[in-house]
Amino acid sequence: MGIARADVEKIAELARLELTSEETDLFTEQLSSIIGHVEKLNELDTTDVQPMSHCAPAGGDSEYAKRDDQVRSGLGQELAVENAPDPEAGYFRVPRVIGG
């Protein structure tokens, strides 16, 4: 099954990527080719197979390690905004959300 240019535009919108026209053309071709390759999985009947959603270590007590839910100190406001492109008084400032 191929992927149409309109599909690529829709995926880009979902992924919050403002692609250029050239990128959209290139990805239409390349994603079609990759999806064509993964269609190979349909050769297998997996009706009775359980999905493997995580790699629970099978060597030991197959349980993930757990800890008590204790309160611990976090990063703190000062460090949390230290890397922000546009911090203001300990907050993250962004362009307007509504009515832009």
Binding site: L14, R16, L17, E18, H37, V38, T46, M52, C55, A58
Partner: protein, 486 residues
């Protein structure tokens, strides 16, 4: 002083006895990094911090203090592991100025063990690639032939160790990103069992596949590094509390009676004749040393690449949603609304391969396609894991080639993403099953390029991998020092 001639194992005692100064080792590493800067192995070099750390170790040795196990070992870190206050880019423009407020557990453990962290190494952007050509900071070159790639995505770490800029390094491996560059660059590289090493502070790509592991010039040095970084970490709930073996002790046993599985699916079409020859010669060596060679089958191998490129990209599309220009990194300036700012930041901040994978992952997870692609791939992943469970009922360790060919030329595979993906065909299965894999050099091609052999083990049985690799390394007795560059 030549770092390639030093081992982490011997360095500790020599520094303690005052025969070698950590400062001299560190200076030799820094000189080498500068002299071989054209290889582009490092994104950030910590010259002053590293020298200060070396001086501390020398002072401790002079005082007669007991030195920690990696005292004076010069180690490089792939630039997708955070270090407090040290710029960490993940090879991406989108993190061009990111200075993390915390340190990854594996890096923290190395420092506590006396290692000198010399710098942050170059990589494919967000560890997505098999050649280290996808870096926003330029491609890395292979010291064996500078017209060729070092493999990827941990190409900078592999090259740093191969060319004597560091005695060891950390990489991360999601589909082969430690083992494949180790193979193409002629060093030892180990991807531990999923959960063996904490991922806290590793910039996430595919969270059910990612694992941190060591590069080294010898199996023993890799064992020493693994011993330091392995073990449970309360900051990573997927890190296991299975007891950590004494890896250095374990390598001294022989391989007599060891059952070595050879999976026929890994020796077929697409495998270079010379690679096949060297790996088969190594299998003969193991047999001569008393190992029992067993023909096995991993029947779902051919589905590994499609499964991987659905699961890894789906996880990546979720993990990389956080790069939106709000909390850290790059932000596109000209956007007037929040949504336009997100989309423009991400288009300008990410490179082509990262965008391609985000797009594929978003598609695989999108409404209407989830069951067909992501759901299906999780089921086939179960079948691949089952292949290994069945195989390990018959054998203790599996031997395969690490990569289908020796190092390829820069630019050779960049036009066709699928072609590039195929260079991970033998390494991806271990990530999908969560089992450990090790690559070690086993010979040179007729054109003088290193060839790697892969050992795959049972969950949490790194000890058997390291023991087998050490025995083979001693039997081969070869020197894998690249010819002088320029």
């Amino acid at each position: 002083m030549e770092l390639k001639r030093l081992t982490i194992s011997s360095l500790h005692n020599r520094i303690a006895r005052g025969e070698v100064k950590a400062a001299d080792v560190c200076r030799a590493a820094l000189d080498r990094i500068e002299r071989l800067s054209e290889l582009n192995a490092f994104i950030t070099v910590r010259a002053d911090a590293a020298m200060a750390r070396a001086d501390e170790i020398d002072h401790a040795a002079e005082r007669g203090d007991k030195l920690p196990p990696l005292a004076g070992a010069v180690i490089a870190i792939k630039d997708n592991m955070v270090m407090r206050g040290v710029r960490t880019t993940a090879g991406s423009r989108i993190l061009f100025n990111y200075k993390p407020p915390y340190t990854a557990t594996a890096v923290d453990r190395l420092e506590t063990a006396g290692a000198i962290i010399v710098g942050k190494t170059n990589l494919d952007e967000f560890a997505m690639g098999s050649s280290t050509e996808n870096s926003a900071y330029g491609p890395v070159r292979n010291p064996w032939d500078t017209t060729r790639v070092p493999g990827g995505s941990s190409g900078g770490s592999a090259v740093a160790v191969a060319s004597g800029m560091a005695m060891g390094a950390l990489g991360s491996d999601t589909g082969g990103s430690i083992r494949q560059p180790a193979s193409l660059s002629g060093v030892v590289g180990l991807k531990p069992t999923y959960g063996r090493v904490s991922r806290y502070g590793l910039i996430a790509f595919g969270s059910s596949l990612d694992q941190i592991g060591p590069f080294a010039n010898s199996v023993e040095d890799a064992a020493r590094i693994l011993g330091v970084i392995a073990g449970h970490d309360p900051n990573d709930s997927t890190s296991s509390n299975v007891e950590v073996d004494d890896y250095v002790k374990s390598i001294s046993s022989d391989v007599s009676g060891l059952r070595v599985g050879v999976p026929r699916e890994y020796y077929g079409e697409g495998l270079d004749v010379e690679v096949k020859g060297k790996v088969e010669a190594s299998i003969m060596k193991l047999q001569e040393m008393g190992a029992e060679i067993i023909d096995i089958s991993l029947p779902h191998t051919e589905y590994a690449i499609p499964v991987y490129y659905l699961i890894a990209t789906a996880e990546a599309s979720a993990n990389l949603a956080r790069y939106d220009g709000v909390r850290y990194g790059y932000r596109a300036e000209e956007a007037s609304t929040l949504k336009a700012m997100y989309s423009r930041t991400r288009d300008q901040g990410f490179g082509a391969e990262v965008k391609r994978r985000i797009m594929l992952g978003t598609y695989a997870l999108s409404a209407g396609y989830y069951d067909q692609y992501y759901g299906k791939s999780q089921k086939v992943r179960s079948l691949i894991e089952g292949d290994f469970r069945n195989a390990f009922a018959k054998c203790d360790v599996i031997v395969t080639p690490t990569a289908p060919t020796p190092a390829f030329k820069l630019g050779e595979k960049t036009a066709d993403p699928l072609e590039m993906y195929l260079s991970d065909i033998y390494t991806i299965t271990a990530n999908l099953a969560g089992v450990p894999g090790l690559s070690m050099p086993c010979g040179l091609s007729s054109s003088g390029l290193p060839i790697g052999l892969q050992l795959i083990g049972k969950h949490f049985d790194e000890a058997t991998l390291l023991r087998t690799a050490h025995n083979l390394e001693q039997a081969l007795g070869a020197d894998f020092t690249p010819p002088p560059v320029m």
